[in-house]
Structures are given as C-alpha cells and as structure tokens.
C-alpha cells in the first residue's frame, strides 16, 4: 500500500545512494512496510526476543551492560546498569517507556514509533523479561495520535502471533504491553512526573529518593527508559554486545538518531554512529546554513542544552556525551538546532524561554514564578524597553530558579539566556542602548517609544 511506504515525519533527501550509516533504528527507510509484523520478522525482527527468552533474565541484563548502551532520553545513564538496580524479590515490577518526546528540537521517537513500531515493542518485551516483569507501558505523548494507532495495531499483531500475552514463544513467561496516551505536558517526560501521570494524576514530579527502581509505578520497582534507548535493545540482543560496542566512541557506544532542525538546508533525522562530528551532521549531511548564510550558533542537544558557537574546535567535536561536555554543553536528546547569522539572538532566546514558562507544571514557586519573570524581562529587552542593569537582573533571576527548583525543568529555563549571553553579550547590550535589534529583520528599526 502506498500509504505505508510514505514516511512521516518526512525524512531528509538522501545525497548518495547509500545512507551515511547503514540503517538500523531507521530501517523503515530501507525496508518499506516494516511496520507490519511479517516484514519486520523477515528482516530479523523478534530474533532478539527469541534469544532473550532462552537466557536467564540476569544474562540479558549482562548483555545490555556489556554493549555499553546508554540512555537516549537526555542523561545518558547506562541502560543495563539501570536494569540491574531492580530488586529480585517477588511481586509486580514494571517497565515504562518514555515516548513523551516534547523537548524542542527533538523528533526521533516520533519517526521511530510511526514507522517501526515492532522494534520498540520488541525492546519493551526484552526489557520486561530482563527484570522479570509482566507489564510494559509505553507512555506516548497524546499529540502522537497516529503513532498511538500504529503502536496499538502492532501490539495486536504481536499478540496474535504469540509475542505478547501468555506463554510468550513457549517460554512460560507472560507479558502485556499497554500503549498509554498522554495529553500534552512537557513535564510528563520527566520520569517521576511520567509515573504520576501514568497513575492518572497531574504530572507533578516526585521527591527522590525513593528512586523508581525501588518505588516507581504503583510504588513498585520500575524501569524507565526512553523510546530510542529501548529501540536499540533488539539490535543488541540479536547481534550481540560485541557487535554493538564496535560502534561509537570509547564511552558512548552504538548509533543514534540525531535530529537536525532550524536554519539548515536539509533538516531531518540522521542515524549515525555515536561520536560523528557536528561538522559532518550540520555541514556535510545537513548542507550547512540555509539560503547561503552562515551559522551563528547552534543548540547541540535539545532546547535545555547550552548553545555553542560554530568554531572549528566545536565543529570537529565528536557528538558523544563526553565530547560535547568538554565544550561546555551537553549531548542531551541529540536535537541539534541551527541558528543563522540573520537571527536576532534575543528574539530566539525569548522564544526558547517562553517554552519553559508555558510548560512549568506549577508545583514549585521558583520555577512557576521565575519563568514568568524571565519571560517578562526578556520581552522588555526584545522590545527595546530595558534599562541599564537588566541583563544582570535576568541573570540573577535565572540563578534563583536553577538549583532551587523541584526538578530539572527549572534548571533548564535559564540555560538559553545564560549560554547566549556568554556568546553574544554585545547584541543583548545593543537592545538596551539602541532600543532595537542589532541583527535580523527588525535591525535598526525603533521598537519602543523614545524617552
């Protein structure tokens, strides 16, 4: 069917016959119809699960540990180690897959679930087996309505084939996979808020400890992993830890989907070996800045990570957790957002911070009030209504949110401003002294009333 062969969201155009890295996670781009069980299985699908159920659960954990697979949701915690924290005792344990994907600049899970749903379901099943769980929940942001339909159909297909439900593959182990829909809230990507939400409450983050491995969903031991993390798991089990760890860098193994967006010629998802450089992604594959312009700055790992200027040193940095940290930023969710030199940085920062104001859950005061203030002050700055000393005031308010909020959302809110101020202080000051933008379409135009 034509419809199944079309890929949403649309991938970037291929420059060469062969992709830059042989598709693993994004295999649907090479194999049309892989969303269907028979096609998936004909391409090695569920071989990983078949292997897993013949092993002891602990052995599965050890394979994932040995592969070096690290979380793709943001922090990069080793997946196998996370699983090994689950206590062995009796009683229910849960696996929850974080497919809330709402961090601006990130859109990999979206493509993964709409086009390759069995890969994720297989990953969830293997994870359940590894921690002796009989319930996996895939928490999908509600806006992915089609992704949810695709996943639900895939679960039913898998059930009919004996891959979900009772006595899976004759192993005597039972497991259910439930596709759960969220309803629009960035905070539900934060793991403890996700658990609250999955329990049917407001998505307010929880105090930790206890950590989810001890008391998570329904106060039971729970593993939470990102959608892309779990989509890697079938490959690890099918091909083995040694194969997987051949890819990537010393501390960041494997391959991942980098999301490229903003002012580039060819935005889209790119599956690459971990540790590929920014230059390869942004310039060679992405075509560099659009409209023949230059790159002013870029965000390397989703809106919560500090901006970087495209110096040679930065462009040649390998995109792995350690490499990007050495440049003063973070790998985060691997959402690379490029900003061209015709952009007013104050306007861009305002837009970035507005997101955190909109998405603050309201539970704690520093984040709820502080993000409002940040936006008000940045608004004034953008519109040429700021006074001498306002830049310091904004820094100060940001400093009273970060580290003083209940969860990491508050820590992220001042990041765009702080990192941009370091790189483009002159432009921020220009807004105060000239009451207008230094660059961009409004440059030189009087924005506020003359005093």
């Amino acid at each position: 069917m034509a419809q199944q062969e079309q890929i949403f969201p649309p991938p970037p155009p291929l420059l060469t016959q062969k992709p830059p890295f042989e598709y693993q996670l994004l295999k649907h781009r090479a194999v049309p119809g892989i969303a269907k069980l028979d096609v998936y299985r004909a391409n090695g699908g569920y071989k990983g699960l078949e292997r897993a159920v013949k092993m002891q659960p602990d052995e599965v954990v050890n394979v994932v540990k040995a592969s070096g697979l690290r979380g793709r949701g943001g922090a990069g915690f080793p997946a196998g180690m996370k699983w090994s924290f689950i206590p062995k005792g009796p009683g229910p344990k849960y696996v929850t897959c974080n497919t809330d994907e709402s961090e601006p600049g990130t859109f990999k899970d979206h493509e993964l679930i709409e086009n390759n749903p069995h890969q994720l379901i297989e990953g969830v099943l293997i994870t359940c087996y590894a921690i002796s769980s009989e319930n996996g929940f895939i928490y999908v942001r509600g806006e992915f309505a089609r992704g949810i339909r695709v996943l639900k159909r895939a679960v039913e297909e898998a059930r009919a084939a004996g891959l979900v439900g009772q006595n899976i593959l004759g192993s005597g182990w039972n497991c259910e996979v439930v596709i759960h829909s969220g309803a629009g809230a960035y905070i539900c990507g934060e793991e403890s808020a996700l658990l609250e939400s999955l329990e049917g409450k407001r998505g307010y983050p929880r105090l930790r400890p206890p950590f989810p491995a001890v008391a998570g969903l329904y106060a039971r031991p729970t593993v939470i992993n990102n959608c892309e993390t779990l989509s890697n798991v079938p490959h690890v089990l099918r091909e083995g830890a040694e194969w997987y760890s051949k890819f990537g860098t010393e501390k960041t193994k494997g391959f991942r989907v980098y999301c490229l967006s903003g002012h580039v010629e060819r935005p889209g998802n790119y599956e690459l070996e971990c540790g590929t450089t920014f230059r390869t992604l942004i310039n060679d594959l992405g075509g560099g800045a659009w409209k023949g312009r230059n790159i002013k700055a870029f965000i390397p790992g989703g809106s919560s990570t500090p901006m970087l200027a495209p110096t040679d040193e930065v462009m040649d940095t390998p995109m792995d957790f350690e490499g990007i940290a050495a440049r003063g930023s973070m790998q985060g969710s691997a959402g690379v957002v490029v900003i061209d030199d015709q952009t007013c940085i104050v306007g861009a920062v305002l837009r970035l911070v507005e997101f955190y104001k909109e998405e603050s859950c309201g539970k704690c005061t520093p984040c709820r009030e502080g993000t409002q203030w940040l936006v008000q002050m940045l608004h004034r700055l953008e519109n040429g209504e700021s006074r001498e000393g306002d830049l310091e005031l904004i820094t100060d308010v940001g400093g009273n949110i970060a580290g003083k909020s209940f969860c990491l959302l508050g820590d992220s809110a001042p990041v765009p401003y702080n990192s941009a101020l370091k790189l483009f202080r002159e432009e921020f000051e220009y807004h105060i002294t000239h009451k207008t933008c230094m660059v961009g379409p409004r440059a030189g135009k009087q924005l506020a009333g003359v005093h």
């Binding site: 942001r141 806006e143 759960h180 960035y186 998505g203 809106s303 837009r351």
Partner: protein
C-alpha cells in the same frame, strides 16, 4: 465545579451524557491497568472525541466508572493542554511556535492564518468550523513549520499552503489529514 460549556445550562441538560460506545471504550481501557485510575487520560480522549471538548457532566460519569472522585478527574482536565475546557471549532488548527518552527517562519504563519480567517488566536470562526491556536513543540521540528489539524499532522507548511488548508477545512466534514 467547572461550568465550561453553556450560559443556559438548564436547557441543555442531557445533551452531554456519554454514549454507549464511549462507555464501552472506557470500560475496555480500564481493564488494561492494575489500577482503574490510570485510565483517566486515555478515557478523557474518548470523552473529547465524542463532544469536541470536555463538558462538565461526563466528568462525573467518568469518575463513577473509574471509581474515583469527580475532583480527581477535574484536576487532570485542568492540567493537560490537550483537553479543551471550552468548545472549539470542528477543526482545531494548532500551529507550532517553538524554536525550530519559529526559526523557519511560524510567527508569519500565525499572522497569516488570523488574517485569512478574520479571527484572533483561540477564537472560532462564526460558522463553528475552525479555531486557530498556537502550540508548543510538536516533535516534528525537522519538518518546520508544522501544525496539527485536531490531532493530525501537516508538515512543512508555507503561508500559501496554510491558505489551502484553511480553505479546505471550511467545508470539510471529516479531517482530510487523517492517516490511519
């Protein structure tokens, strides 16, 4: 209690009871979870699919089915962005305005759409067909600017295409952007 749908409540009593189909769907959802309360979010999507928003009456019905308090339902409805607490147009056009879409022209798109429809953001056209809103990142930043018509995506939208989209929705009965 939230009275979100009508100035003349009394004349509309009974208009907002859950259909048999919705009830069945909610009962089925409830069975998926170790705790019935977990079904609230998906169940509210069922309610919204029936009415186009979340009226006050079925919140009580829903609470009863799930064996929880009405307040438990209300606190969820008021927290999550996707639940419309007031009626919206038959087609709710939501334009993403987060960073990647902003960098590629979402503000212009929002401006353009308001002019085309002659309504402001979050207002509904007089015929009840279209409401235009902005929304935070839709996780389709590589196909920016993008939007949703109800819960279905449209990618890489330029102003001329927005005209086409809005025009097609004026007379549409079903969502033309639905892909199974």
């Amino acid at each position: 209690m939230i009275d979100n749908y009508s100035d003349n409540l009394e004349s509309r009593v009974g208009e907002f009871t859950l259909s048999e189909g919705s009830r069945r769907e909610i009962e089925a959802l409830k069975k998926q979870y170790p705790s019935a309360r977990s079904a609230i979010l998906p169940a509210l999507h069922v309610v919204q699919a029936q009415f186009g928003f979340i009226p006050a009456e079925p919140m009580g019905e829903l609470a009863e089915i799930l064996g929880i308090l009405r307040g438990d339902v209300e606190q969820v409805v008021t927290f999550y962005r996707m639940y419309n607490q007031r009626p919206v147009g038959k087609f709710h056009v939501k334009i993403c305005d987060s960073i990647s879409c902003y960098l590629r022209g979402s503000d212009e798109l929002l401006e353009h759409g308001q002019n085309r429809l002659g309504t402001k953001l979050n207002e509904t056209t007089p015929d009840g067909q279209i409401t235009l809103s902005k929304i935070e990142c839709l996780a389709a930043c590589g196909a920016a600017p993008c939007l949703q018509v109800n819960d279905e995506y449209v990618y890489n939208v330029q102003p001329e295409q927005l005209d086409e989209i809005l025009d097609s929705l004026k007379s549409a009965d079903k969502n033309p952007y639905f892909i199974p």
